[in-house]
Subunit: 305 residues, 4 copies
């Protein structure tokens, strides 16, 4: 490898897949191969693994390595990027995961800050991610911000600005926080040189006006985002909005059932991909809700099985 | 008057002006005439008075009536709309203010929910605004949502949906909350028939993709928003983004000094319009920061005096 | 009247009564006479009216005056104190209510800070209450702190300390916040000269160890608190704890049904005192839960009717 | 070992020590021996290690094992108990740490719930701690609740109630949350059979009235708590209160400098015990504040060096 190219960019539609578990609760890396095919068939170009929807924080370091390896191996020739999330409760684990991600050839790494002992300033947040990024110096690094989960309400743009002078492999941020002004500010840091990826499906169209062109999807609907992007670029705002409303509907279904990874796994089951249970302290969606969820997904035109 | 027309819409760039106080703390309705001229000269088409920036909640009922009257009177022939906010700590005051607003000929009224005893469901929130709206049945009614101030995190789209069948004069909502998904959902209620106004200057461009075309501005820069809107409609996204970044810069200056009404009054003072102090428990921006604020505003191209 | 005596103290068991409303939603001051008798019969020595449980913030200024007058008039010769809460959404209303309370002869007034525009420092909080206290200079003034309702998390001890040098009629605070350390700090201000009243029934015993001896009760069980106090003073900790557990049980019943004023009104109804509905945006406890609540209160030994 | 005795109880004054780090950031188990002597000399009877003040969540699993081993080894013959906190970001790590703690002979283990993916009900919280407790079946298990750090506001008493029927080695809870009612409710579960330890120094006296007699101290002042306890038991409330006020003063000094582990390490340095730096994302107290902190501690009568 070597130095990270200045103009490194993630491209296309990225999905944030769930992490398959066996019925005994162990991670199930064997499920990754099929999952990759499923995503590729749905026009997904890359994956952001082991983040929030991937239950990364619920897995041990060795489990995370095993899962990351499976994704890098299976995605080869099928997806253009595998971004491995290495954020953890403590910096030593994150450093270990960053080293490992680089060794196995992850396309990029991303890291959130710990949420039990929260960093109290942007400066110390940068010190933290600097040490993690330095553990994988030949791998593009993305800061991962998701305030409503972490409870960390630091200024992301300020973190990026401070970090840009100190982290040579910093290439941007994945922002799942819901406040547009934060996305706007972040997109302007260093004259817009850093790449912002938006982690909220239903904000993709508004984000396009800010020049943010890569979504990290809760869903797997790569084709939808490509149609939306095409319409926007052609100035056809009505079609773009229709696609976004469709994406939003999918998110709203979620709010009727259960949040986060448990929803992803339930929805995937409806679509014929069994990813097993979630891990405690999360809870699976109750079985008896499956028929209703299936109907809702069917009504949206998804290929329910 | 009579029935509110089905297709009633607020148009143009709306500003949320501060409420001028005398040095003894009394309201100063005499200042409204000049303020109206200032706004009109800056291509502002209408005003949303006595909301958050207008310190409505810090004024007594009789003070609010006096101020509302001044705006309606002075804006005549100069602004196309005066929206009077009637939200208060208790429903009786809101009802009285709504009746009064209709009597004096306000273009529309808006109402937030009380934030000490918070409504616990969308249903009871609708019961509340229904009684207020019914007190001004010939005046268009807008629900006002600003969760980060009120601490009320109910689902705005659901409130609008429930309300649309029960409040004949409901014509939309003014949303200052910062979550785009909420704006999106609200913009789709009743097939998009209700008018959403966005209360966050720097979200105007993203909101345009949702079909939200009327901002309620913290600033007074009507011309900026008109250029932005024109660029967006012409498909010139780069120009539109440049204008929005400019708007955002103005907001970011604020974060260096003081928040809310105190900032508006300090900034207006720099521009030659003295609106007096804010009312307790708010605090004025310290005097010694004025020169620095002046410089910042000057650097943004504003006509500082 | 004249100067407030240095050593003014509220004594005995204080209750925080609900405010009776008529079925049409108007205030019902006629209900106060019976309520006073009910409280006096239950060994209640005084009342804290128009605070949180009294729905003060949901009433207009004129309604609050009317209710305060009824309490002062009816409590004469029957209760030793009527503390009138004058906190409101805006300072002008609070000042007017303070003047009125003094005029009608309230034993003391109490004032919370506004919660929409929150004071951002202890210093400005003191400026605020200083103006309110100055409007009733011959009436003892108590600061009212209830952070989980107001969202104001300022340091109460610091407010009292700053205020003690500037508010001649300041005599203490009513603290309903649940953090013991805050109660401890406040009880030590000025060498313990200020009187702290605790607004959490089930914290009365622990508070006694801090020297806090006057509760403002959610319930009406004056006799229970007198037994508890007597046991504590006699060093009989087991009996004291048994009484407190009994008080806690009454609070825990509440959590099964509905919070705040709606619970008080429902419980009072079970005991034969009809106080009417609560005011929007609060909601009454659903009728169908009354039998179950009656049973629960009966099981605790209360004289359900 | 074998079954945990029904009547197992932690006794005396427990401290929550910091975890010493080397200047390169590695854990420094060599420092434990001196630390144990220091605590024993200050009438501390036992330790709660690797919890919040012990930065447990900032350490990797292998580091935590190393530190736990040092405490168990060095405390032998000097302290009556070593409670090892095994809470972690993911359940697998907690299970591994629980097994290890039992193997090395910890007196008891304690476990908090993960705070990134928060449990959403008391029932699932119990499922979680049940699996952890089952990994060390011959070791007394304590649930650890500290809501203002974890953001988990579940009902502790309800968790204990559910858990008591399902976790044979459950012996109580360590509660650092600041709400007295929660401590009261928890102290009454199973007729008071479970042991509650209070993690807030300045709430020890009020807690004594609830029958809670073991504090887990932020400080190391075992003698202070013994004097306090003795005074309380003798019915000498004035002396007890004086001691508690002294304890509170020590806590209040903290608020002038920095919070949590960084304060403990700075204060210990003033007392001649160098525990090294804290780990990112925490920050050390700035060096230049040391003289002022030393003076403050000296003023309280502590043996500053």
């Amino acid at each position: 490898m070597g130095q990270v190219p200045e103009d490194f960019k993630i491209t296309g539609a990225i999905a944030a897949p769930a992490t398959a578990l066996k019925s005994n609760g162990d991670v199930n890396p064997e499920a990754v191969a099929d999952y990759v095919n499923f995503l590729a068939n749905n026009e997904i170009d890359g994956v952001f693994v082991l983040g929030t929807l991937g239950e990364g924080l619920s897995l041990s370091v060795s489990e995370r390595k095993e899962v990351a390896e499976a994704w890098v191996k299976e995605a080869k020739d099928k997806l253009s990027s595998v971004i491995v999330h290495v954020g953890a409760g403590n910096i030593r684990d994150s450093i270990e995961l960053a080293q490992h991600a680089q060794k196995i050839g992850a396309t990029a790494i991303a890291c959130m800050l710990p949420s039990y002992f929260k960093p109290s300033t942007e400066a110390v947040a940068v010190e933290y991610i600097q040490q993690v990024a330095a553990a994988a110096p030949e791998t593009p690094f993305y800061y991962y911000c998701i305030n409503f989960m972490s409870g960390i309400y630091l200024n992301t743009a300020k973190i990026l600005e401070l970090a840009s002078g100190r982290i040579p492999n910093l290439r941007g941020a994945k922002i799942s926080s819901r406040e547009l002004p934060s996305l706007l500010d972040s997109s302007r840091v260093c004259g817009g040189k850093l790449q912002i990826m938006v982690g909220t499906d239903e904000q993709f169209l508004p984000c396009l006006t800010l020049g943010i062109r890569v979504p990290v999807l809760n869903s797997f609907l790569g084709s939808l985002y490509k149609r939306l992007l095409k319409a926007f670029d052609a100035g056809d705002m009505d079609t773009a909005r229709d696609e976004m409303v469709q994406a939003r509907k999918l998110v709203l279904i979620r709010s009727k059932y259960i949040d986060g990874p448990a929803y992803v796994k339930a929805a995937m089951k409806c679509l014929g991909v069994d990813l097993g249970p979630v891990r405690l302290p999360l809870e699976d969606m109750p079985e008896h809700l499956l028929p209703s969820l299936k109907q809702d997904l069917k009504d949206l035109g998804l290929p329910v099985q």
